[in-house]
Structure formats: structure tokens, C-alpha cells
Symmetry: D2
Subunit: 340 residues, 4 copies
């Protein structure tokens, strides 16, 4: 299958290159960006010497549709919505890693403060959390956000089984700096991040409506959730620490059963006996989940960790590709966590 990537110079685009390089059923045929056009990718990023020597091209929908069979959008929010329409009209498959096709237009506009895609385009996209969405033969995929992936995988089994007080959910989520993107800013300057810990966009993070929308598919009464996001002084990794109260008469063994039932047959979610650390998953497509219950406060703490660029972006995008095509779900994705 021939693949094009739009937005090659962003972190997710580069990670797609890396993953597709070891994927047996795909061939990367063109890469596109607004910067560095005309240079080889390995010239701009010498670490890719011998890995990907394709030339960066300007975006050109017609050429992509001629050369490739599917396009990944790894562009910042607000870009894919304007470029995708032509492909959708032509029925050409898209996996969009950005937030542009995940939410209804009015909600997108409110949280992203950008013009939304058209409703008729949005309606054709399927929001695809790989472990829960049947994407077989779908053509237009909205790949979930990084924080959303970690949080939804932790909460869905509990919400779906009706185990928790749904108005008690508090999520304290932390991310490494690649999650904040590649743009230069005071908040990504080394000196300001190193030896620091900064909470940002409190109550305003654009993944909040995505999470709530997903959970409502499992319990229509799900209210808003309390959701904090902070920057860890590391490059990769998200930990979502989820606090919630158990419903009366729910035992911690019910929690264990719900997670086992949800994930025992899922190759990329590992329910652990202990609370997972970031190191568990960095460099891999795994989500590790652990939990602990406090009898005195009736609070269940669930910890979910992912590599934000892999399971939280490029890895899940390829997982969705594998599922769309009916290939082995794990093709190209069996990287062992780097750990050390």
C-alpha cells in the first residue's frame, strides 16, 4: 500500500516515517510540508540518513492521489480541515492525526478557537480509538488525541460497566514536551522547562470535549470531567492519573474484572499488577494501566501511561491503518519500550 504523509516535519510526521520504515505492507511514496521543500528529509534530519531519503514536496492533493493509496495528515490543528476536503470528495482514504475531524463543528470552534471543517465532511470521519472502534473498511479516520487516548483507555471500562460515580472523575494528566509540539515558544524553551513543572490550560484543554464525547457513548449521562494538564521535563510520555469514587457495593475485584474483560485480548493494552511508570511504555505502542483503591476515602486511582508520539499519535494511526485493512493489528508496531 502506497502512503503519503502531509506535515512531515512535525513530531508526529517524523514518527510515522520511523514506524512505516519497519512496516511490511506499506511503502512511503511522498512526504509533504510547507518548510524545507526540495530538500531530502535526511538532509534536514541527519539521523534519518539511510532511513528516509525522500525529498520533501509542497502539498499537492492531485499528485498525492495519483501516487499514493492513502494519506496521513500530521499537520497542526486548523490545517487538515482545509486540505482534506478534496480527498474526501474523491473518496481517497485519510487518517488525520490532528484534532480537526474529531468534534462537531460548534464544539471544535469553541475549544480550538479556529474555523471548523464543514459538517458534511466531519460526518464522513470516524473517531477511532483502536481498542473500541470498528474501522474495518472505513475510509476517513480521525485519530484520537494523546491525552484523550490515555484517559479514555483508563475510564471506558469503568464507565461502560457502571462501576464509578460519574460526577466524581478528576484527571491529573502530565505530558512530555513533544506533546506541546515543535513550535518555538517561551513555554518550550529549555531553560523554562528543565527543573520545572508547569500546569497549563487548566480547565481549557481541547482534549476535554473529545474525552467527554467518547465517554458519553458508554454512558449518556456522563457529565463534564475535571481535567488538568501539566508539562513534565521529559521529551516523551503521558501519564493520566484518574481519580474517581466507586459506586456503592462495587468491589475492587469488579474493577479488576472490568479491565481484564476490556483488554485481555488487546495486544497493546497491558493491565499491570502495579502502578505503571512512564518508562514502561516509552518507545512503544503499549498503554499500561494499573490501579489502587483507598477504602478510607472510597477513591479509586487509575494510572494510564503511553508514549504520546506512538500510542498517542503515529502508532495508533498505523494501528488504525492495520485494522482498516484487515492486516495483523500489530504489524510494524512491536517495538519494545526503550525503558533505559
Amino acid at each position: 500500500m502506497k502512503i503519503s504523509i502531509v506535515g512531515i516535519t512535525g513530531y508526529s510526521g517524523l514518527e510515522l516515517v520511523k514506524i512505516l520504515n519497519n512496516h511490511k505492507k506499506t511503502e512511503l511514496v511522498s512526504i509533504h510540508a510547507t518548510k524545507e521543500v526540495g530538500r531530502r528529509l535526511s538532509e534536514v534530519y541527519p539521523y534519518l540518513t539511510g532511513v528516509c531519503d525522500l525529498e520533501i514536496e509542497a502539498f499537492n492533493a492531485q499528485k498525492i492521489m495519483e501516487k499514493a493509496d492513502l494519506v496521513f495528515f500530521a499537520t497542526p490543528s486548523g490545517v487538515a480541515s482545509s486540505l482534506a476536503e478534496e480527498f474526501v470528495q474523491a473518496g481517497f482514504p485519510i487518517i488525520d492525526l490532528s484534532g480537526d475531524h474529531r468534534l462537531p463543528a460548534s464544539i471544535y470552534e469553541k475549544w480550538y478557537k479556529k474555523s471548523p471543517a464543514k459538517e458534511m465532511i466531519l460526518n464522513k470521519f470516524t473517531y477511532a480509538l483502536s481498542e473500541y472502534t470498528d474501522v474495518k473498511d472505513k475510509k476517513f479516520i480521525a485519530n484520537p488525541g494523546c491525552y484523550a487516548t490515555a484517559t479514555e483507555l483508563a475510564l471506558i471500562p469503568l464507565v461502560a460497566a457502571g462501576l464509578i460515580e460519574i460526577d466524581s472523575v478528576i484527571v491529573d494528566a502530565k505530558s512530555g514536551l513533544t506533546g506541546a509540539g515543535k513550535a518555538l515558544s517561551e513555554s518550550s524553551h529549555f531553560v523554562n522547562v528543565h527543573d520545572n513543572y508547569v500546569t497549563y490550560k487548566l480547565n481549557h484543554h481541547q482534549h476535554i470535549p473529545e474525552i467527554v464525547q467518547t465517554l458519553r457513548a458508554f454512558d449518556a449521562d456522563m457529565p463534564e470531567i475535571q481535567f488538568s494538564t501539566s508539562l513534565l521535563p521529559v521529551n516523551r510520555g503521558i501519564m493520566a492519573t484518574v481519580y474517581c469514587k466507586l459506586k456503592k457495593d462495587v468491589a475492587v475485584s469488579d474493577v479488576a474484572s472490568a479491565f481484564a474483560k476490556a483488554y485481555d485480548d488487546k495486544p497493546f493494552v497491558r493491565v499491570q499488577d502495579n502502578l505503571p511508570e512512564l518508562h514502561n511504555v516509552i518507545g512503544s505502542n503499549f498503554t499500561d494501566i494499573g490501579f489502587a483503591y483507598n477504602e478510607k476515602t472510597n477513591v479509586l486511582t487509575v494510572i494510564s501511561v503511553i508514549d504520546n508520539l506512538i500510542k498517542g499519535a503515529a502508532g495508533q494511526a498505523v494501528q488504525n491503518l492495520n485494522l482498516m485493512q484487515g492486516w495483523d493489528e500489530t504489524e510494524g508496531l512491536l517495538m519494545t519500550p526503550s525503558y533505559l
Copy 2:
């Protein structure tokens, strides 16, 4: 005033040396440890060359009482309780930075899993959170724990003013590695900490009963709190992120008033308009507090940051000394945060 320090080679002991070096009313006359006895401190720690060239001595209560006017205990938990008795009997002033004299014997034993001090000794100690405790002319001070300091300063104004649902408190606290002490362990090995984020002692941290006990002095009905502790890959700093629900009819302006009333005249607590970062306070004795309210979830988020070795240990100990003696509360403690 002549000062001795017992436990000089721990992080808090070394930080005391640093602070007392710029304190105009004290003179450090002896330093004690079980290791490195007979060597000059600056020989063991060359960064202290010219700052403190005293020789490390074995512990000797009689000699300390002869040479000094007050002793700081900066020993690990379980040590001060066995050494302090002789000083207490003799009426010789102590400021204990360890956890040994903060809790009733039975609670101490349960959470620290160590033998407690005798009740008659414990009864003579005053737990002294500098901003709330009158220590004038007290002789035996139990200095608060680092997590406890950050959390109590964030919660007391709210609990005291009756603004929050007291059974809704969830604290997600994070600390740098100096908070985990100097002992070698897998969990403090560089490779295991760097690029990682690890939640530990969930529901079991020994500062939990200390916090609850302190809050109960402001509201006797205060129940247990949900309290998480995690290790940040930095050397210094604690952030306590406190989540709680506001009582009906409480406005966010009431919260602002409560904090202003509590801290406007306190030199070391700064209520900030924005959410504080670790960088705000590292290297100083300040506690910075900020908050944000979410109308949709009725959750108030309060963020409190301290330098765990200064306001969370040696700095507050010297602040307590200043207050005991009726000196200027800020003597020796006006270090500007290093920030960069």
C-alpha cells in the same frame, strides 16, 4: 546563639549549614553524623570549602549541651526519637526536622513502621507550621514534613473558612528527588528516575496523618484525604495540586478573600494571580499559591509550590527558630529563588 546540627550529612543538614552561614544571630559550633566522623565537612563536600570547615563529630549529647544553645535534628525518621530524650529531660532546646515528634505514638507506629518516641516526650513537642503556630518561647519544635507543608498551606484557609466540601479533597503531589533522601536505592538510581515519572506510596505516605491531624484543628470533622505522591525527575521542589468542591453558595471571590486574609501579612507565602510553577520558589523559603475554579465541575484547583529542602525542611526550621527567639522572621531566609 550557638547551634549544633545532628545529621549533618543528610540533605536537610547540609541545607541548614548553607542557611545558617548567612544568618546574623547564630553561630554553628558543632556538626554531628555517624559517617565521615573526624573529617572536615568541606573535605567531604568540597563545594563547602571556605563556607564550613568544621570537623564532623560523633554524636555526644553532653558535649552538645555544653557547647551549644540549641540543637537541630536532621536525622532520618526513627533516629531523633532515641537521641532527643536526654535533651528534653535537661530542658535543652530542640528543633527536630524529622517525623519523629509530629504524631501521637500509635499513629506514628502505624505509618512509619518504627518504634515511636515516648508519649511524655511527644507531649512536650509543638508541631510548628510557621504561619499558623505560635512558637514564641517554645523549647521543643517538631518541624513539619515537606509534602505536609505545601498541602497544609494550600488547604488551611479553605478549611478554616468552611468554604469546601471536606470529603471531596484529592491531593496529587509531586516532589523532586532530594525529597526521597540520600540513601542509595533502585528508586533513586539516575537511570530509573531520569525521563520517568513514578507514583509511589499511594495511599500510604506517612505525611497523610500529619496533614489530616493539622486540618482537624481547623475543622474537627475533617475526614481522611486522598493523597498521591510522585517523583519528578528534578532535584528540588514540591508541587501539591489540590482538588476540592466548593460548598453551595461559595463564590470564587470568597476563596480569594480567604487566601488574602490568611497570607497578606506572611512574608513567605505569596498568593499569585496565576498558577505557580516549581521555578517560582526553588532556592528560596517562599510558598507560592495560585488557584482556578471550574464552574462546570464545581472543582477548585489550588496549586502550592515550595522548595522541599528550604520551606519544606531547613528554611522553615530556621523560620521557627527566628519566631521562637522573637527575631525578625525573615532573618537569614531572604534568598531570591534561583529560577533559572
Copy 3:
């Protein structure tokens, strides 16, 4: 081919597991250590859940020889020498990642301060820097040290072509903490490493004689070299910064030619146009080399970077295995650098 690993719980042993997991021609059949015997590897290291669930066994030479076709030693220095003899006597293939079989006995003893292997055993081992040593059909391989690999790959083309003043070589090498091993020590405690940079074993590092011995194979007159080693506050990566003076009438284009000739057909050495950074190679088996010449001082600076656990240990060991067996040199080793 069936493989056993002795020393599974060290950093190199764990990295071997990771690499062999994606190697098509090998099967890992047993793993051995002195600690954690009887537990599954994934129980001790949850990040390996689903990757390697083998049980850790005590060392047993006979059982290894029955079950496996080749054994990797990933033990600390001083261990392999005592365990390897039985295998050598039996003609059973070994790749030793430790320093035990790289040097003549007297030199080993002087630099490692440990008892050396027997001369008759040492004589059977081949020191194998993959790019320079023909290991086809060899049975006993001494895998090079991490600093030595980075330094030798930078210097050999220059020494072999007679381009530099051989008594002018100064190497300022830096390593991440995994290079210092897994043992707990003051020098690997997070607080002592973070925000620090420490030069250690100056003039005494045990890789010095290994480098000199290797270079003498290309110029018998090669004298001792000046070699410094420092710890960078990162987990992985070595940079060897090599300074040397060019011989009279040598042009910088001769340097470029020498490197091109040495490495144009080598899949894992990439000569770059710019000075390489650690990020270039972390997570991969690549060595990236760049250089710059200063006309005013006649000093050539060569910078060589590797991932110390991969090209500097487990990766090169598998590369040597591939070469021994006549397999594709890159089998199992085409990991893209993680970069971000």
C-alpha cells in the same frame, strides 16, 4: 539459532533481549542471572510484559550447552572469565560483552584490578570491532567496549592512512549513565548526576589499553593516548571528541577521503557533513562521525557518537553474531534512532 544470555538483569542483557526479540534468525531459549532467579523476566521488568516472559535461571553451563547454540555473556567484568572456560573447552560459541577477553592477562590485571582469564583461553578469543574484524566462522568473540568503539571508529581511518601526528591524540569522551552500569553508588544517585557534569577515572579508564592495542594494529608506533571520560546527565549515548594534529602536507580532503573509503560500504557508520549530536544515534546501531579542521592551530576535531548500549554493547554483539554466521549484517538491527 538458539541463544542463551548470562547476566540478563544488567543493562546490556536487557538490551540484548530487546534486539533479539526482532531478530528473525534467533530464538532466545534461556536467560541467567544471580538475582531474581525463578521469576519471569516480565515480572521483574513489567515493561517486557508480552515481550519476554522467560523465567530467570541460575547459571548452569551444561544446561546452556544442551539447550542453546550460542551464549552471550553480559556480565560485569571479572565474571565471564571464570564462567567461560567450560564453554571454550567444549568448543561452544561465546560472544562476551564484558572486558574479560579483550586484553592480554597482564594488561587486564593492571587496568581492571581483577584476576585475568587464562592465557590459553584468551588466545582463543577474537576482539571484534565489526567494521574491521573478519569474524566469519570464529567461535569466541570479545565484543569491544563502548568508549573504545566510538573512539576506534573515529581514529582508525586516520591512523591507518597515516594522516595524523600520532603523539598528538587527545580524546575527550562523554557518556550517559547506563554506561556506568546498574550498581547503586553515590556517583549514580540521581541527585548527584542531575544538573551535573563529572569527569572520572581521568587517565585511568580501562578502555584506554583496548584503544591503544587496536590502533597499534594499524600503526605499530602508536603511543599512549590522552583519554578523558565524563558523565553526562542523560541515560544513553557516548560522544567521543577526538583532537589531533594533521601531518605536514595532509589536506582536509585527505581526511574526507579516508573516512569515505573506510565507511562508504559499512551500513552502520554514517559519515556526516556536520558535527553529529547524541540525538543522531540514540536507540539505533549507528555510529555517526563528523569532523572539522582548524587551520590556525592545525587541529582536526573528529566527533563520533553512538548509543552505548547498542553499537557500544548489545547491538554490536548481534552485528558480530550476524557476521559470524554469514547472515545479513543488519538483521535485527535496523532500528531508527528515536531522536525525539
Copy 4:
């Protein structure tokens, strides 16, 4: 003494605020910048709440000369030269932390690629390395660069005493990110710096001519030096690793004597028995120096460490102020290294 600072929002300007805040003989009366004019400094930098609440003003030479007795320039290179002239004409004292008044015009232009100050202005400035320059009653001070300070303090005693082969000097210097300034750039983006080590401006760093010029005052035959600069993934600190060959018949004890003679009476240079680490000096005005000799290669390694923002910038500037005024050299500068 009344002080103004121009360039308050840069790292050196902020560090000056911090130091002057604890200086007994000075009062900060105005602070100037091109950004954030009209806002209080503590509003822009909340960590300075209660430390410095002055309002940031636009630059105005006349107003500064009316209100203050001396001005510090903490501006980027190329700025001070255009602003200083008016003060020089009026005989108003300046301490310039930038590189604008350190070098002859032609050399400045070549290395900084910017327009130089006028020769007649340059001639009035004294380059002042505090330990070597008599600045008593001088009015116009060019404060040394950070790399230059660390390197010169390591080399001057050796060059002055004629102990080393002057054409053998190779300096491998490393700096934390605050040394690279506050401007946003790819090279200061957290993701690009963290877990990396990058050599930059090899053979082109603008501190090279400053170092050579200084050394030539001690040996007129001093040739160019080989000088490398790299970025360490830390915020603060420089280590200069100096390699040089000893002249024939020079003993290592001569080296020790030369350092002792140079620095025994200098309060801010500490010659250590062991090789110093960055931790030795961070947060302080100290320079720590250690050395080791290799008999086999006849190479002397000297390691010199400083805090680049203190001894390498604001601290040395205040030290020069103290010396100009005939005050105690250590006034305001006795900060203990933070170490942890």
C-alpha cells in the same frame, strides 16, 4: 550607591537583580528594557514578587544619569556599543556585561559579525578579570565572557609561570543553556536539548580572541588556541577542560605551586585537590579548579568550573563593582553553592 540596569529581562540582568538585592552598599533605582515596558518586574516574573517590584522603563540615558551613580549593561552583543557612548562622554560609570567593549574594533567585527564600538570609546574601557585586573577608580569596565572567565582562570597561572608548551593548548568547554541566551531558537527548544549533547561554533566562538588576547598579556608569544564549545542539558554551569603539555623539566608540583601562588589570597577561586564538578559552584561566585597530570602522555588536564550567570556574568560584574569602589570584594557575593 544608586544603580540602574539596562537589559533587565535577559538572564544576566535578572541575575544582577538577585545579587544586588542582598548587597548592602547599593540600591537599585531603575531597570530598563525594550520589552514589557511599563509593567512591574514581579508582574512579568512572579518569582520576584516582594524581591523587586520596580517598573520596567524604556532606555533613557539622561534619566539614568540623573537617578543613578552607575549603570550595568546586560544587553545582547551589539546593543551596548550604541548606547554607551553618551555615558562615556559624560564620564558616567559603566560596567558592560556584553562583549561590546572587550576587543579591538577590527577583531570584534570579525568574530561578532556586528558593527564595533568606536575606537576612542573602546580605549576608555578596561577588560576586568577580577582576579587579575586592578580596577580601583576605573570608570568603564568590560566584564569578561563566561567561557573566557573559566578558561583564563585555568590558564593564566600556567602561562604566566612559563610551565606549558603554549602551542599545545586544547580547551574542550561545555555550558548549560542559560549561556546560550534567552532568544527562542531550534537550538534552545527543550526537545532538541534534553538528552542531547551538541557541539557548536567549533573554531568560531567569539570568546576565542578574548582568551588569546588576555593570555598574550602574560606571554606575548601565545598563539591561537584550539577551543570547542558544547551545550550540556542543564540550565547553569560551565566546565572548561584544558589540555596542555608541560615544558621539559616542569614537575606537577610546579603546577600546584603556580595555582597556589595565583589564588591562595583570592576569595572566589578555590584550587581543589580533586577534579571539580559543576555542582561545586552552581549558585555561587566561586571558580573551582583542579588538575591531573598524565606521565605517559605528558598532558596536564586542568578543569575549571563556574556558574556562567554568576562568576561568568553578574557575579563578576558586582565583584568588579566592589573592587572599583574599594569595598569588600565579597560584598553581596557570599552565596553558598546550591549543590543539590
